[in-house]
């Protein structure tokens, strides 16, 4: 029982981290109907900026406080993501108003390659570390209840809590505020949104900035876990099955999808692994997503796809 719970917790916390990345996809999709292929590249770009500025800023200004360095690096990196959002809107999206989804998708694919290159040109292509003081040692809990207790990674726990808070805040923002409503309006219909006086370009800058913020938080958490390197942008691939499962248009869906995949991966690896010779963790999520595409293509919480003829 203790072992099962340990696996379950591990899965939940890993799942929360997937949700965090999936959230970036959902935000942009909800607000502009664009499936943003560049989300992974944005995570990498933000993490690189964070890691490098945290290293450079103390040198430039001549101080040693880690907290201050991280804080300044976070602010600068966030500002950079806002500038990026503005540039993307100016040079790319504003030219593609009222275009097909597939056109916009291809545009984001281009942005993704560009960002990968730009990030590594500006910040270098080594492996960098982000140290925001995440606790690295595991904790033992419930020693009285189970024999041997439950071993829990503190780092994962903190990360999961941060993700949960972020996700909750964004869900409220979308559902309860007038700005959130304007964002949803733009997602549904560009033309109609313009006709009621919503300026598309400003909304897009906001959305991409918020997605940039989500990418930055994800980049910091994943970066401090795995190190900041090119492969970080591939973490986003893990988020694809999450959004398919949860539905591209649903913030709660992104959370639940992430949790299901996190838990499913871990449990299947432990309990089914022996039948398949192990390594299930790597492909479990994709098979699950494939199954969902066949049975329920809109995902668990996505809006039903109704075509009127």
């Amino acid at each position: 029982m203790g072992f099962f719970l340990e696996t379950l917790f591990g899965g939940l916390m890993a799942g929360m981290l997937y949700s965090l990345i999936a959230l970036g996809f959902v935000l942009i999709y909800k607000a502009s109907g664009v499936f943003n292929f560049a989300q992974g590249a944005m995570v990498l770009f933000a993490a690189l900026a964070m890691a490098r500025f945290a290293e450079w800023i103390p040198k430039w200004l001549g101080f040693e406080s880690l907290l201050l360095a991280n804080l300044l690096a976070f602010i600068v990196a966030m500002a950079l993501m806002v500038v990026l959002a503005w540039v993307i809107e100016r040079l790319c999206l504003s030219k593609l108003v009222n275009q097909e989804g597939i056109t916009l998708l291809m545009a984001t694919l281009g942005i993704s390659y560009f960002l990968d290159g730009l990030g590594q040109t500006l910040f270098g292509n080594d492996i960098y570390s982000i140290n925001v003081g995440m606790p690295k040692d595991p904790a033992m809990i419930l020693e009285g209840t189970f024999e041997g207790g439950l071993l829990i990674s503190k780092e994962d726990l903190v990360a999961a809590l941060i993700s949960a808070a972020l996700v909750a805040a964004l869900a409220l923002f979308f559902q309860k505020t007038a700005t959130g409503r304007a964002l949803r309006a733009v997602a549904d219909d560009h033309q109609a949104a313009q006709s009621i006086g919503i300026p598309l370009n400003r909304i897009w800058v906001i959305v991409w900035s918020v997605a940039g913020f989500a990418a930055l938080v994800a980049g910091i958490i994943w970066g401090s876990k795995l190190g900041v390197q090119f492969s970080l942008s591939l973490v986003a691939l893990k988020a694809l099955p999450v959004v398919i499962l949860g539905g591209l248009t649903s913030v709660p869906g992104a959370i639940l999808g992430g949790l299901i995949i996190g838990v499913g991966e871990k449990l299947s690896e432990i309990y089914l692994g022996s039948f398949f010779g192990g390594g299930i963790e790597i492909w479990f999520a994709y098979v699950l997503a494939l199954g969902f595409l066949l049975v329920r293509p809109q995902g668990l919480f996505g809006e039903k796809i109704i075509d009127r003829v």
């Binding site: 923002f173 409503r181 304007a182 949803r184 033309q191 949104a193 006709s195 009621i196 809006e303 039903k304």
Partner: protein, 275 residues
């Protein structure tokens, strides 16, 4: 012909008790083309305050293009547009909204995932004053504002008699009701000029009667100026103060319904091809 117009209009309005005012929108020699295709050729007409002005014509005559020119979606290559006496420079649709021009679409353009209430609330967008940050955080002022707007939106919901569906996602509503919700969203902006692109297309007789009543009520109670595209000739002749007729992107008739009905060109181009 243009010069006789005010008189004719005056005569017509005496019956209804509405006061038709000065020209609010003046389109002069508008030409619009897409590549080599001419959508509109040298079209001039005006819209007076408080009137219901209809644009009719066979399919492909350029009616929707005309509306899109007024709305700022299309930018004509030639001609002048004067709105409230000021010549309009290059503009975007959201600027038209800022000037008090609201519209509905030929193919319903509602926010399908949202409820009826939320859809109409989006129409209040421009009236919302609190800043983005306050808004995002749902702070005191933004919250108070939200409630004020909600009151206004409830009035519109009552006006359009859609109280019982206010929480329904619009995607689940029948076509006729969706059209009504779209009108509601446009009204929520309290526009001075309302553009309706085939508000009665695809409706049954009863729904058409309802929609006619709403359009006349909007015009009468709120004094909203209405520019309307419609296929149903009966409806157009019944509710319009003045009608402009387009065919192949050219204006072939303009006047009060009786005049238009008697116009030879109109009969040939429009009525002649309609059966």
């Amino acid at each position: 012909m243009m010069n006789d117009m005010p008189q004719a209009v005056q005569e017509q309005t005496q019956g209804t008790g509405r006061r038709i005012g000065d020209v609010v929108l003046d389109l002069q020699n508008i030409s619009l083309s897409f590549g080599g295709v001419k959508a509109l050729t040298d079209i001039s007409f005006n819209v007076r305050e408080h009137e219901i002005r209809s644009i009719i014509g066979p399919n492909g005559a350029g009616k929707s293009s005309m509306l899109n020119v007024i709305n700022g979606v299309y930018h004509p290559q030639e001609g002048r547009i004067l709105f409230r006496g000021e010549e309009r420079r290059r503009m975007e649709p959201h600027m038209a909204a800022e000037q008090g021009i609201a519209r509905t679409f030929q193919n319903i353009a509602l926010f399908k995932g949202m409820s009826v209430l939320d859809n109409i609330m989006t129409g209040r967008n421009l009236k919302m004053k609190s800043g983005l940050l306050a808004n995002a955080l749902y702070w005191g002022r933004a919250q108070k504002e939200e409630i004020e707007h909600r009151v206004k939106v409830e009035e519109i919901i009552d006006f359009l008699e859609i109280q019982d569906i206010r929480k329904t996602p619009v995607g689940a509503l029948p076509y006729g009701l969706q059209k009504r919700v779209e009108l509601g969203r446009a009204l929520a902006a309290e526009p001075s000029l309302l553009l309706l692109d085939e508000p009665m297309a695809g409706m049954n007789v009863e729904e058409k009667q309802d929609m006619c009543r709403f359009i006349l009520d909007v015009n009468d109670q709120f004094g909203t100026t209405i520019v309307l595209i419609e296929h149903d000739m009966g409806v157009v002749m019944d509710i319009s103060d003045r009608v402009v007729v387009l065919d192949y992107g050219k204006k072939i008739g303009d006047g009060v319904p009786e005049e238009v009905r008697a116009n030879e060109d109109v009969i040939r181009a429009y009525l002649g091809t309609s059966h």
